[in-house]
C-alpha cells in the first residue's frame, strides 16, 4: 500500500530553506499519511481532518522557509506540536460555532450531498455490512461493538462474555486484518470513512 521513500528530514529542511518547491511536495507526501491518522484519532469530526492536515503542513513549511526550525532532525516533533496547536484552534472555533444559534439553524438546512453521492454511499455501506457479516459469531460482533464503540475495557468484556484475553486479542486481530484486506480491495470505503483532502 501507498508507501513512499522517506527523505532525511535534515535534507528536506535544507532544500526547502533553499527554495526547492519539490522538497515541499516531498515533505507533504512523507508526513501527510501519519498526520492524517493522528488528527483522525484526536478529533470527532472526520470531515475536518483534511483541512487540519493542510493547515498544519502549510504552517510547518512556512516555519521552515522562515528559518524557524532549529533542529531539523526533530522535524516530526515540530509537526506533532503544530498539529496539536491546530487542534486547539479547531476546538475553540467549534465551541464558538456550536453556541451560535443562527449558524446552527442555517447549517441544518444545507444538505450538500448529491443524489449520486448518496447512492455511492449506500453501496459502500452495503459492502461494509458484508464485512461485518463475515463475523459469524454474534459474540465476536458484540465484542467489537462494545470495545470500539462503547469504549468498554478489555477486562470487563472478557468477564461479561466469558472470554480469555487471548481470544479477545484474536478477535480484534482478525477484524483488523479483514479491515486492511477490505481497504485494499475497496478504496472507496476508506474515502467514505475518512474523506481525502479536497
Amino acid at each position: 500500500m501507498k508507501k513512499a521513500v522517506n527523505h532525511s528530514t535534515v535534507d528536506l529542511v535544507s532544500a526547502i530553506r533553499n527554495g526547492d518547491s519539490s522538497a515541499e511536495a516531498a515533505l507533504v507526501k512523507q508526513f501527510q499519511p501519519g498526520l492524517k491518522l493522528m488528527l483522525a484519532a484526536k478529533i470527532a469530526d472526520y470531515d475536518a481532518v483534511p483541512d487540519l492536515v493542510q493547515e498544519t503542513l502549510s504552517a510547518v513549511i512556512f516555519a521552515i522557509r522562515d528559518d524557524k526550525i532549529r533542529e531539523p532532525k526533530r522535524l516530526a516533533g515540530y509537526i506533532q506540536q503544530t498539529a496539536l496547536n491546530q487542534i486547539k484552534s479547531f476546538y475553540r472555533k467549534s465551541a464558538r460555532i456550536s453556541t451560535n444559534q443562527e449558524d446552527l439553524l442555517s447549517s441544518q438546512t444545507a444538505d450538500q450531498t448529491t443524489p449520486v453521492t448518496q447512492i455511492q454511499r449506500a453501496q459502500t455501506r452495503k459492502t461494509l455490512y458484508q464485512l461485518l457479516n463475515q463475523l459469524k459469531i454474534e459474540r465476536d460482533r458484540e465484542l467489537l461493538l462494545r470495545y470500539y464503540l462503547k469504549d468498554e475495557d478489555k477486562e470487563t468484556l472478557c468477564k461479561d462474555l466469558s472470554l480469555s484475553a487471548e481470544h479477545f486479542d484474536r478477535v480484534l486481530h482478525r477484524a483488523r486484518k479483514r479491515m486492511k484486506a477490505l481497504l485494499e480491495e475497496h478504496p472507496e470505503i476508506r474515502e467514505l470513512l475518512m474523506p481525502e483532502e479536497r
Binding site: G34, L37, A44, I87, Y91, S98, Y129, L144
Partner: protein
Amino acid sequence: MTVSNDQTNFETIDAYLRGELSPDDEAAFEIQLLEDPELQDEVEAAILLKKLLSETSTVPTQKKPRGRVTGKTLLNFAAAASFAWAAFATVLLINQSQEDNGAAIRTIELAPSRSAPSDSRRLYISDEMELLNLKIDLSGRAGTDQPSPLAYMVELTPLDDAQAKSYMRKFPDATAESIEWGIKTRDITASEYHFEVRGIYQGAEVSIIDQNFEIIKRE
C-alpha cells in the same frame, strides 16, 4: 517509547486511540506515527474499524444509553446540549479540601457551576507533591434529557508562556459521573493556564468548563 513487536503494537495502539497513554508516551507515539509507515497501516486499520462499526452499528449493547447522535439530528442535539450546558459553563467551583501536609498526591475537585464568572484562580503545588489530580464532577447532567457526549476532552493550556507545556487528554467514558486526570507536578511550569473541558459530539464540540488558573509553586 517506541512501538516494536505485534503485541506491543496492538496494546499501545488501542491505548492511544482510547486516550489512555501518558502525555509523554502519547507524544512519542505520535512522532513515531508520523515517521513509521508500518505503524500507520496498523493505526489506520484500527481507526477505520471503529469508524466502520459506528457507520453500520445496529446492535444494542448492555451499557446504559449514551444518546449517540448521527446524521441530520446531530446539530439539533449539539445545539440543545450546548444551550443546556451553557448555564453551567462559565465558572468552576473549586474544592481544595485535600490534605496538603506533604501529601504526594493533591486532588483538586472541580465542578461546573451556575455562579457568576470569576477571575483567574490560584492553584498551589509544591516540590513534595508528585501528582496534581484534577477530579471533575460531571454528575450535574444526570437526570436531564440532554444527550451524552461521545467523550470528554480536557485541556490545560499555558497563556502567553512559551516555556510552559500544554496538556490534553481525551476521556472516552462519557457516561462517567466524574473524570480524574493526574498530572506529574515535576512537569508543570508555574504559570497562568487556560483550563477547558469539552463534550465531544459527532461533528461538534461543546464547552462545559472554561476557566483560567494560575499555578503557583510553593517552596
